[in-house]
């Protein structure tokens, strides 16, 4: 092996020229080394001082000046927006998945806002329906508005102006940490609310004595009475009640914790049933059975839905869910068609109302009207004869308008 190695080495050496690298080369090498080290030192100095200084300057400028535009604000705002949006997304995802049924989420939120934060459920309804904001975003807006002590509509306006949450947080002096804390608190309370109990208000829709349960308006599930079934004797269909219920996770049902027969909130969600007298983009006039004429405001995002619905015509029997806003306007939340105008005209008894509820609500509204003067201005009482005449007049006007339109189109034809 060694011989092999020596043989190969001697062969290889024979292929290499007898060249000698001059010793003087060392000096030129050292010069280059020095210049190399000098430039390296310079680079190190730059890295050590210039880069951090530039970076600090950049961070300083971007942190305090709205370099990302008026909507996004400064670097701090952008970071806060990012943090808040993440928390809000996480909150929505978790909260939406929390209760066993999404249809009860608005009830839970309303109850929680009222009990824990002292926020009027009507504010929640306003935020949701007038500004057309999803429930959990509405919760966040309400919590921030309460902390900042500014009206929700200002916050909504800021969002409409495309301001990011970081900028809003700076304007409202509510720190992102506080906002995140609100969300976390609300979320944990929201998850335990079905078990601990939540408040509901509405009229009794149905009583089932066989299984000691009853239904109330706008709540889709039966509410079971445990133990004291005599409680059912204190209520009757149409009674306005305030109840506290809880979800029994072992029996998969809602159970009554507390019940009190008391008038519904004057501004809370109330449903009206009546014939449609008039409709335009902003308002709707309903003629109730007792002859009252009820004027309801239509939220902007809702008007086109109503206008496009072919079943919504003058004379249709409609049930409308509404609440009274801060300005005293009765705002429509939802509607359902009970019968179209054709059915109403052709029926033997066109003036009959399928729901006894309307009568009860009228009674209740009358009670409320005594406390709320604004209601008096809006609800003008009409007799049923007058109502029928009103409907006929409206139909007549509509027929005339259709006739006019037909004539115009004929004239326009070549």
């Amino acid at each position: 092996m060694d011989q092999d190695k020596k043989l190969i080495q001697s062969f290889l050496n024979s292929t290499i020229p007898s060249h000698v690298v001059e010793d003087t080369k060392f000096l030129s090498i050292m010069e280059k080394v020095e210049s190399h080290q000098k430039s390296r030192r310079m680079a190190t100095m730059t890295r050590r001082f210039a880069v951090p200084v530039t970076l600090a300057l950049l961070i300083f400028i971007t942190s305090f000046f709205p370099v990302f535009g008026n909507e996004k604000g400064s670097l701090i705002d952008v970071y806060n927006s990012y943090k808040l949006n993440r928390s809000l997304d996480a909150f929505k995802t978790t909260a939406i998945a929390a209760p066993h049924d999404q249809s009860i989420a608005p009830h839970l939120i309303s109850s929680l806002l009222e009990q824990k934060y002292g926020i009027d459920p009507v504010e929640f309804l306003e935020t949701r329906f007038i500004y057309n904001i999803p429930p959990f975003d509405a919760v966040f807006l309400l919590l921030v508005s309460k902390e900042a002590n500014i009206p929700v509509q200002n916050l909504v306006q800021m969002r409409k102006n495309r301001l990011d949450w970081g900028v809003i947080s700076r304007h409202t002096n509510v720190t992102p940490y506080q906002c995140i804390q609100f969300l976390q608190d609300f979320q944990s309370a929201y998850q335990t609310t079905p078990k601990e109990g939540f408040l509901l208000q509405g009229r009794v829709r149905q009583i089932v004595f066989e299984n000691s349960s009853f239904f109330i308006e706008r709540f889709p599930y039966p509410i079971y009475v445990r133990g004291e079934t005599a409680l059912l004797d204190t209520i009757q269909i149409g009674s306005p009640v305030a109840i506290k219920i809880m979800y029994n996770y072992t029996e998969y049902r809602y159970e009554l914790l507390f019940i009190e027969v008391k008038p519904l909130r004057p501004n809370g969600p109330i449903s009206f049933t009546g014939y449609l007298i008039a409709l335009n983009q902003d308002h709707l006039v309903l003629g109730a059975k007792d002859g009252r004429r009820i004027v309801l405001k239509i939220p902007p995002h809702f008007s086109h839905v109503l206008m496009m619905d072919s079943n919504v015509t003058t004379g249709s029997l409609i049930s409308i869910l509404s609440f009274t806003d801060r300005n005293g306007n009765r705002q429509m939340i939802d509607y359902s068609i009970l019968s179209s105008s054709d059915e109403t005209i052709n029926s033997k008894n066109p003036g009959s109302y399928p729901h006894d509820v309307s009568q009860k609500q009228t009674f209740d509204d009358r009670q409320n009207a005594t406390t709320n003067e604004k209601e008096e201005h809006r609800e003008k009482e009409l007799s049923s004869e007058e109502l029928k005449n009103e409907i006929k007049k409206t139909e007549e006007v509509l027929r005339n308008k259709i006739h006019e339109l037909k004539q115009r189109t004929q004239r326009l034809k070549p």
């Binding site: 043989l7 080495q9 290889l12 050496n13 024979s14 292929t15 060249h19 010793d23 090498i29 080394v33």
Partner: protein, 176 residues
């Protein structure tokens, strides 16, 4: 090759100019031979010597004195040569082992050298790297494996194959 005195190396590392000159004197021809074997060009090999020493003296502080100096230097030579070849790739693909580059003074020597060059053509760049490290720089198999970044077993195989080719070249040369 016998390793340079550790004390002298330490002094060179500390920035002693005389010690650095000694290190240069000790290794310059060794680096030249290795570079020439791979590049087959005197001027280019000279350039490599310069570049290698610039790297060595600039980065002496990063050298771990508890380790052997020789493999560290060999690694620098290998990297510098590879970088040089990469930079001048076109030139190398077109005139790899160009006969004009043969360093010889007399006609007889020149003919002999040309013949060697032709034999050498049979060795590819990787074989030449391995042979240079094994027979010029006299690195161990483990050191070669570490320098080329391959496993010891793979290094063994490559050394064996390259040596076999080289032996064939030597035999052919002797027959001629």
């Amino acid at each position: 090759m016998i390793e340079i005195d550790r004390e002298l190396l330490q002094q060179a590392k500390d920035g002693d100019r005389m010690a650095q000159a000694e290190v240069f004197k000790y290794y310059k021809d060794y680096i030249f031979r290795s570079a020439f074997f791979m590049l087959r060009n005197e001027d280019e090999a000279d350039d490599i010597v310069e570049n290698v020493f610039i790297k060595v003296f600039s980065n002496f502080s990063s050298f771990d004195m508890t380790r052997s100096f020789h493999p560290w230097l060999s690694r620098i030579v290998l990297n510098e040569t590879r970088t040089y070849i990469k930079k001048n790739r076109r030139a190398y693909t077109n005139q790899d082992f160009a006969l004009d580059n043969i360093p010889s003074r007399s006609t007889e020597n020149r003919e002999k050298a040309q013949q060697i060059q032709r034999y050498m053509k049979e060795l590819n760049a990787k074989d030449r790297e391995i042979i240079s490290m094994r027979y010029f720089q006299e690195l161990t198999i483990e050191e070669i494996a570490r320098a080329v970044n391959i496993s010891v077993a793979n290094a063994k195989v490559r050394i064996h194959r390259a040596t076999k080719k080289l032996k064939q070249i030597i035999e052919t040369k002797e027959e001629n």
